[in-house]
Symmetry: C2
Subunit: 315 residues, 2 copies
């Protein structure tokens, strides 16, 4: 199969590419390296198993010629910094919604009609019942990142309904693991690296979310696509439980060996405006396809912490 | 109250302005007259009761200076031609999603935080239970217009959650009435005007949707805003029943006096790719606020047909 992965040099994209290459797909990677890291995919480029294009998806004309001879697109490219939306309001619009439009339009023009998309649990907004099923409504995202993911879902739905596309849309819990480039564990390790005696935690630490290890995430993506064949296939991806920010702080302090570090909470029920304090997805749909995760939330956090300590402290 | 109405020279906008002016609001109208009609608001401009700006909302810099001294924005501007998305794919993105971003951003920069937004029943997509409640999920629009409305809803939600805005979002059924500039009744009258012996109907005529008279619609908007005060207020607006396209064709033929006209169906279950054949909204939330519509669907169709015949045949 000839596939394109947008954002393929990113955290999740690079893990997906490992899987696609190992199963023999022909992979074209598109990434502007704004948050992606070329080293994550270097070995595949060097041994000729993938083709890499450093282009910006905001330019439709750059994307169009690359779409020929492609059977399916995994569209993962996005701004990954959710908090940024509180300060700069057009990043998620441009790099999320509009880029998704460009991907869909380039596909339509080239006759490519299968797309997988990384949406997010944050489309559910605040106050959804937990665990939240895919059928929850109304979805009112409270972050600009969430709005861009919902905007992308809607665009994809409309390309399915209007132009006969087939889509797999995944609403991700917090995905963590090796090569993580952002998120709470990444932040905590960096903070302790610069000051081993003190760990500042945004909010009161009672935020509690579901974490999924990135290997489980990409396995789930491929499992769902192989197991389903509706025009529009929507699946939550996550684990079966949650882990609190307070517990994550304890784990990171323990694993870094910064035993004397004091935890200092900035207070309030959330990390920033637009953060959702508590989130847990129902993954019943995923499980009904015969998939089970290897890591539940706390194990995924512990595993990720050890992996990122090596990557960050080894710098 | 000092309000701005975007798309104020349009069909629904101009009716809303009639109400706002009559209750004494200071009204600023923004419209690029792409589908809006200056004559709809001319009398208010001439007598000085509203201020009109012919600007394009796609240019944020044109909008910014107009947002000062505004208390609330009624954001109705949008591409009104749903079918256009099947041919030109960026109109709804540019004139829907991106314009909504511009409106929100101009408001944020000027410190304006109250917005009412005309969303649509088409955000529910196909296959929703009927009557469809606001809590239905997932919402997977199948038209590009629907995607732009969902994108707008998400942006508004995120401005509420991130920047403390207050919003009223209305998911409209098919709104019809005097000054209609598009839609099935408008199309049928124009077709019979050019050929009184033959009426072509897109689809098999069994499409069946809920219709709301525009006076009921703007009364409902103002009633909901006066009666609610949550940060994000979401309401379906429609009537209690439906009317089939076949029945509309009969009514238009009868009212135009084209009794001999043959009805010719193009076939298929829908008018065009992305059309939703059957739609009926639950308006229980609206009714719980003590509002009731004056016209049910068929009465609204008959009333509108007579009004539009005068407007179109009188040209």
């Amino acid at each position: 199969m000839r596939v394109m992965v947008t954002g393929g040099a990113g955290f999740i994209g690079s893990h997906l590419i490992d899987r696609l290459v190992s199963r023999g797909d022909e992979v074209t990677v598109v990434d502007n390296l704004s948050s992606g890291v070329f080293d994550f995919i270097r070995k595949h480029v060097d041994d000729g198993s993938i083709i890499f294009h450093n282009i910006d998806l905001k330019n439709l004309s750059d994307l169009k010629p690359l779409m020929h001879e492609i059977d399916m697109v995994y569209h993962l490219a996005a701004n990954a910094d959710i908090r940024l939306g509180t300060k700069i309001t057009d990043t998620d619009l441009n790099e999320g919604t509009i880029v998704t439009y460009n991907v869909l339009e380039a596909m339509r023009l080239a006759g490519v009609s299968k797309i997988a998309f990384s949406s997010s649990s944050v489309v559910y907004g605040e106050g959804a019942p937990m665990p939240t099923p895919e059928t929850h409504g109304p979805c009112i995202p409270i972050s600009l990142y969430g709005a861009s993911k919902q905007g992308g879902e809607g665009l994809i739905g409309s390309w399915v309904g209007t132009f006969g596309f087939q889509a797999w849309v995944f609403r991700f819990a917090n995905i963590i693991g090796r090569r993580g480039t952002h998120g709470v564990i990444f932040d905590f390790i960096h903070k302790l690296k610069s000051d081993p005696n003190r760990l500042e935690v945004l909010g009161n630490g009672l935020q509690e979310k579901s974490y999924m290890e990135v290997g489980d995430c990409v396995d789930a993506i491929l499992h769902v696509i192989e197991s389903t064949n509706q025009p529009f296939n929507l699946y939550n991806l996550g684990s079966n439980d949650t882990c609190s920010v307070r517990r994550i702080a304890e784990i990171v302090i323990e694993e870094t060996g910064c035993k004397g570090a004091s935890i200092e909470y900035t207070g309030g029920d959330r990390g920033w405006a637009g953060d959702i304090p508590k989130a847990r997805l129902s993954i019943d749909r995923l499980k009904q396809l015969g998939f089970s995760v290897k890591y539940e939330s706390e194990d995924a956090v512990a595993y990720t912490t050890r992996a990122l300590i090596k990557e960050i402290m080894g710098e």
